[in-house]
């Protein structure tokens, strides 16, 4: 397994606020990496900087052999990274299938001439894209709502559409930002299984999660962030037993005693 994504000494400061401090992370092809940490630890910022949405204050990001530090978002995604968001970002006025087909934007090579003349080459590519999108939606159990307006769907299904869209570009790396947010335990378990299935399709996955059951269950390795720093890294078992991690979430022992524990 080689290194797919390399984050090197990443700093991100917003004025005086240190969102990321000296973060070093390696993501290997084929692995599922969990990222956990208390709220405000810098997890989403990590995604933002890695994907180019925010420029880092210092440090570099390498993906698949290329340096992608400060490259614009759309370029980074064309190289093979796809992402979902903490607050779902769907194309609300478009149907589910259209949402997914947008994800294929960079692979679908069509020309203006092909479009306006409905050339055979264009039409067959469109059809191919359509079928692929349907397959992905089928895989996620969304085949019944394919033509539904995406903003009409219940929350859990919208999440899945977002994931479908991310998958449609055949990404090498999938970044999921709190995918189980807002889900009940049942749905969260289904999500776990889903991510396991996705992994078989190919991409490496990095998951930001608060749901410990989910993240401990699916991750090969876990990285723990607190106040922008990586405080721990290892397998789920290792991380669960590290004192500094427990401290980050629950506070120091004295404080727990003070609240009557």
């Amino acid at each position: 397994m080689s290194v797919l994504l390399k984050v090197e000494r990443l700093d991100k400061f917003f004025g005086g606020v240190k969102a990321l401090v000296g973060v070093d992370i390696d993501v290997k092809t084929d692995e599922i990496l969990g990222v956990i940490g208390p709220n405000g630890a810098g997890k989403t910022t990590l995604f933002n900087v890695v994907t180019g949405f925010e420029p880092p204050t210092r440090g570099s990001v390498f993906f698949d052999g290329h340096e992608i530090t400060q490259r614009p978002v759309y370029r980074v995604c064309q190289l093979g990274i796809a992402r979902t968001f903490q607050n779902i970002r769907l194309f609300g006025q478009m149907s589910v299938i259209d949402n997914v087909m947008v994800g294929m934007h960079s692979e679908l090579k069509t020309s203006l001439l092909g479009i306006i003349l409905h050339l055979r080459s264009h039409m067959s590519k469109e059809k191919g894209a359509y079928l692929k999108a349907m397959k992905i939606l089928d895989f996620l159990g969304l085949h019944e709502v394919v033509t539904e307006l995406s903003s009409n769907l219940p929350y859990g299904m919208q999440r899945k559409v977002e994931i479908a869209r991310a998958l449609s570009s055949d990404p090498k790396l999938l970044l999921l930002d709190e995918p189980s947010a807002g889900m009940n335990p049942q749905e969260a378990l289904e999500l776990m299984a889903l991510i396991g299935e996705i992994r078989k399709l190919g991409p490496a996955v990095v998951v930001i999660e608060h749901n410990m059951q989910v993240v401990m269950g699916i991750s090969d390795r876990i990285v723990v962030l607190n106040f922008g720093e990586k405080i721990c890294e290892g397998t789920p078992e290792q991380v669960q037993n590290t004192p500094c991690v427990i401290e980050a979430y629950l506070g120091k022992e004295e404080e727990s005693d003070a609240s009557g524990n």
Binding site: T44, N48, F53, F85, Q86
Partner: protein, 290 residues
């Protein structure tokens, strides 16, 4: 000549400033487009005109106009803007355009498309210093604009009501959760914005000694909008400075380049400015979270 253009620029800029303050109250503080600002306050100005024609006292006429603008905006806000407040950016904008048209039609029906004389007893006496001419009214306008700006800034920062407005500009749901009567405050801001616009409009008409239905849109909405953007969205001080800059630009372009194409050049400069400094000169900080 340069000094004359400078004086003219500052004068007209001050008028714009007065109107821009009213506009910016809603646009800058609440980030809601106020496309109908100009046309609403134009109605108020015409009410003042009507009251003067009905032989009312100047102060009464001005207050009447202010009240008219205030009330109209309250009603408009309640029935046309509030229902669509959360419907994206396009919908409320179109609503406002609709209101602007309705207001314009009202003026057209009641008063007509002609230009009327506007005499409210505030005489613009001309003072000559060297070979520069300026009017006392111009000075009053500038002073009033600055005074208002300072006053409103103080009110916003120091009073409970002002704090409420600022809170709403940050986050409406949070403000509501804090117990702030959001709807009432927003309505009041709209009303006050219109009232201030009426005052600005009245002074504008007094300065040019005439009034017609066009003073609304181009002057009020457009120039006020431009001033707010140049000065920086969310900043009253910015609106005033932006207005002055706008006035100066108009004056110098008119004087040195061309009167016919004046607006074309001003728009051109404005577009270039917006591209270089999209947030304006003194922007308040707002960014989108992902």
């Amino acid at each position: 000549m340069f000094l004359q253009y400078l004086i003219n620029g500052i004068s007209i800029g001050s008028v714009y400033a007065l109107i821009a303050i009213g506009y910016n109250m809603v646009y800058g503080i609440l980030e809601l487009l106020n496309f109908a600002h100009g046309d609403v306050y134009a109605v108020g100005c015409f009410v003042t005109l009507a009251l003067i024609a009905a032989k009312q006292n100047v102060v009464v006429a001005i207050l009447g106009g202010f009240a008219a603008g205030f009330l109209i905006n309250l009603i408009v806000e309640r029935f046309a803007y509030r229902p669509v407040r959360y419907s994206g950016r396009v919908t409320p904008t179109i609503s406002a355009v609709g209101i602007a048209y309705i207001m314009r039609n009202v003026i057209l029906l009641v008063w007509g498309p002609e230009t009327f004389a506007f005499e409210i007893g505030i005489k613009n006496t001309h003072v000559k210093v060297g070979n520069i001419v300026f009017g006392t009214l111009q000075i009053y306008i500038l002073l009033i604009a600055i005074a208002l700006m300072v006053l409103i800034q103080l009110l916003l920062k120091r009073t409970k009501q002002g704090q409420a407005v600022l809170a709403i500009s940050q986050s409406i749901p949070t403000a509501a959760l804090m117990g702030i009567p959001v709807n009432r405050v927003i309505a009041a801001v709209y009303g006050l914005g219109a009232g201030l616009g009426v005052l600005g409009g009245i002074l504008f008409c007094a300065y040019y000694e005439s009034i017609f239905l066009g003073i609304g849109f181009m002057l009020g909405t457009m120039k006020a909008w431009m001033s707010s953007i140049v000065g920086g969205i969310g900043s009253l001080k910015g609106a005033v400075i932006g207005a002055l800059i706008l006035g100066l630009t108009e004056s110098f372009v008119s004087g040195y380049i061309s009167t016919a194409y004046r607006d074309a050049f001003v728009w051109g400069f404005f577009i270039v400015f917006v591209l270089i400094k999209p947030r304006g000169l003194f922007p308040a900080q707002i960014s989108e979270k992902v």
